[in-house]
């Protein structure tokens, strides 16, 4: 369960700040401007009480029509596809685990949230988070989110997103004191449609 919630929250957090605007409204206005974004990610996960950080990296794609593809390459392969009606997770060559909106309506609720965010539905964001927008100058900005609804508030203490023209950094602070820092780089917008290979990766069948 937890895993699903996280992934959903992640996906809209990632989509949210792809913008070069300097006010929250403008940020939100920009949300629908790019049909497709590709990026490389580096993730550092620090688990409280564990001596070393767990580092991983890979690529991700956010498509307005197809959803989110999170493809971890190192230290082991992991694929996560999030669509409107289903979620797929596959580690290495193990059989994929698919969860549908039908079998898990909680996820469906999150998806609803996600759709609202994709269409810049400010109301939905405001309902679930206390938001603070800070313009850092030079087209850079930061959004601080404090969840106010259950179960978001049970999972996160705060979520911080930093960006400029694109999203650059997401910091997730858990209730239990763990942090995950994800940095994005090498943003690409073209081609604006999914390639055949990307289509295959998005396939959840």
């Amino acid at each position: 369960m937890k895993k699903l919630r996280w992934s959903l929250v992640m996906s809209y957090l990632l989509i949210l700040p792809f913008t070069k605007a300097a006010t929250l409204e403008q940020v939100q206005q920009q949300l629908t401007s790019h049909p497709l974004i590709r990026a490389h990610f580096e993730q550092k996960r620090t688990i409280k009480g564990m001596p070393q950080t767990l580092n991983s990296s890979g690529d991700m794609i956010i498509s307005r029509t197809d959803g989110l593809l999170w493809q971890q390459k190192a230290p082991f392969a992991m694929r996560l596809v999030l669509k409107k009606e289903s979620l797929l997770q596959q580690t290495e060559n193990q059989p994929p685990q698919v969860i549908t909106a039908q079998s898990n309506p909680q996820m469906f609720q999150f998806n609803h949230l996600l759709t609202a965010l994709l269409t810049a539905d400010k109301n939905t964001l405001n309902t679930n988070f206390k938001m603070t927008f800070t313009s850092l100058g030079n087209e850079m900005w930061q959004i601080n989110l404090i969840p106010i609804t259950t179960p978001l508030d049970k999972l996160f203490r705060t979520i911080t997103i930093n960006g400029g023209q694109f999203i650059e950094k997401v910091t997730l602070n858990d209730k239990q004191g763990d942090t995950t820092l994800i940095t994005f780089s090498e943003h690409r917008l073209s081609p604006p449609q999914l390639t055949a290979k990307e289509h295959a990766d998005f396939d959840t069948q």
Partner: protein, 766 residues
Amino acid sequence: MTLNNPRHFAIYWALLCIALVIGLGRLLPESHLNNSVLSLLPTQINQNLPPDIYQAMTERLDRQVVWMVSGEDEQQRPLAQKWLTQLHSIPELHALQGPMSSEQQQQWGRYFSLHRNNNIDDQTRQRLADHGEQQARWIVSQLYSAFSGVSSQELQHDPLMLIRGAQLDLASKGNALTLQQGWLTARDKQGTTWYFLHGELDGAVANMGENHQLVDKINALKTDFLRHYPSAKVLSRGTLFYSDHASEQAKRDMLHLGSTTIIALILLILWVFRSIRPLILSLISISVGALAGGVVVLAIWHEVHMMTLVMSMSIIGISTDYSLYYLCERRVFGAVSSPWQSLTKVGKTLLLAVLTTIIAYGIMLLAPFPGIQQMAAFSIAGLSASCLTVYCWHPWLSRGLPVNALPFTPFFLRWIALWRHNQWVRRGIPMGLAFLSILGVSQLRINDDIAQLQSLPQHLVVQEKAITEMTHQPSDQKWFVVYGPTPEIMLNRLAELRPLLQQAERRHLIKQWRALPLNSLAQQNKDAALIKQAAPFIEKRLTQLGIPTTPINTISLPLTPDIWLKSPVSEGWRLLWFQLADGTTASLVPVSGVENSREVAALTQHLPGVVWVDRKASFDDVFSHYRKLISGLVIVALIVIAVSAMIRQGWKQGFITLVPSVLSLTCGLASLTLRGEPVTLFSMLALNLVLGIGINYTLFFSNPRGSAVVSLQAITLALITTLLTLGMLLFSSTEAISSFGTVLCSGIFTAWLLSPLAMHSRRKRN
């Protein structure tokens, strides 16, 4: 028939009746009323499922009541709490379940932690095989995932992440309800949170009156609650509400139809006979018939089926005819002939009528359905007794009945003359009806859907639908029932069923299923071995990756059904668990999204102790079986009637007397087309009755010793009484019952209309 000593007949019959009353008194306490439709099924369909389990199952499910309440107060506390407090004031509601206390939540956590080595799910089991290679990879992927939320605490406490695996497995099993502030909650499409409450009715609440009081009480509470908290909304679901609606509707129907019927009947008989006595005499013969039928059925089967009781209505319709025929004779000829002379005059016809009907019902005894056999035995005994009552008692009891011509005699004489001399009437009417029948029958459609039995109230259906959508708990009652002589055997069988269901889900035969998350002890032992084997490897793998681990705890704490049932984790699952006094245990596996019930049933045919139960499909099957069966029996009865008529009256007259019977059946069916109703089991039952009553009309008319006009008046009276009683069903708001009424009214009317055809041709020549 010669009646040398009629007084003795009356006394013998009285003695026999007393014996019957004593017999009934003996049999009744040890008998019971069977109202399970499944027991009507041909035995091979449900022989696998022990009836006790089925009984326990349906009883428990019928006792469930569910509410979903939305709305919060200013402090964001759910208003459902207030509703729960209100419900606590109803003593009949047991086991009211609202929010889980924090202590229960802790127990919940403790259970999963303590028994993690014994609570292995299918997916984890697969990953643990091969020394846990896959499980190790899975653990690592969980640790690395930004989305999983694994803490070092979790890793230390449960390095194999067995609790996590079991939880994920549970979550993926389609439980739409999530825990929020201790409440089970669901959200609707608008995102509103609904809080789930559940209660069970006291087993003692059984009769309709108490049910109704209870529903009234709940409704009053609801009105009160909504007035106090206008922002709240309440949805309810439960068999209680439906059955109360149905019984209230039936009560209204009976009150409206019943009271007008009885008043009209009394007035009619008073007007015709200028005496209330004929009504009492008819009632006596009906009661003796019912008594004899009841004793015979109870003596053979020690139980009465609901269906038999429903069909006993037909006894009323048919047996009143016997009384009325005799009494009309007395009314007209009471002054010129003695009661016994009148009896001699009509006796042979009465005997013939009862014999024909008995033969028709006798054939039904051969049917392999317990319900039909009971009905046939009941009818044979009942009709014979009714007829014998007319024979033995009516001559005595009808002495001194006021004598006069029956009303409208000139009119009836003219009607008879028309049938004798006017070929347009004699040929034209039957041909016209035959034409209409062909038109109507060719347009008939068939419907075996059980839903026609109930006209569901819209306000309940809407709430039910909303709850089903949110909770994903459909109420269509399709399950696998897994059972065994002990819980252990049952759980082992359940384990065999699981992979089949997963397969069926992949093949899209079914959409969702829920099986108890409890392993048999044998399975737990096997799992313990798996864990012991996998633990060292996984420990090694984690250490290699630099992940600090604590020694893995592989102690197996056997998880018995008792522990599970007493823990709060079985909340919501206990409904699906049944244990009989002899230790026989069963569990339900609800299945939803079934397109083809037969294919699903075929899945588990080779598994012992696993039975597919599709309540609606079984009911539909029963309906269809019985509809076909009764159609067949009606045809057989018709042949019997035809053969006996031809033997008695010769080929040609026999054929003519058959015309009213055949046309009454076809016209009855054709009338369904006229009302746009389909052919159902109930219309076939009505046809059966049409045949039984119709044959009386024909036989009374063909009595060579009787007077045609008295026969006509007697059957006209019989027609009116039948229409007044059973015909009222036409106005019922339940489709099944009104179609019964449609067929009955039009069929009997046709039989009456055509009955003059049966007038003896010799009379014509005289």
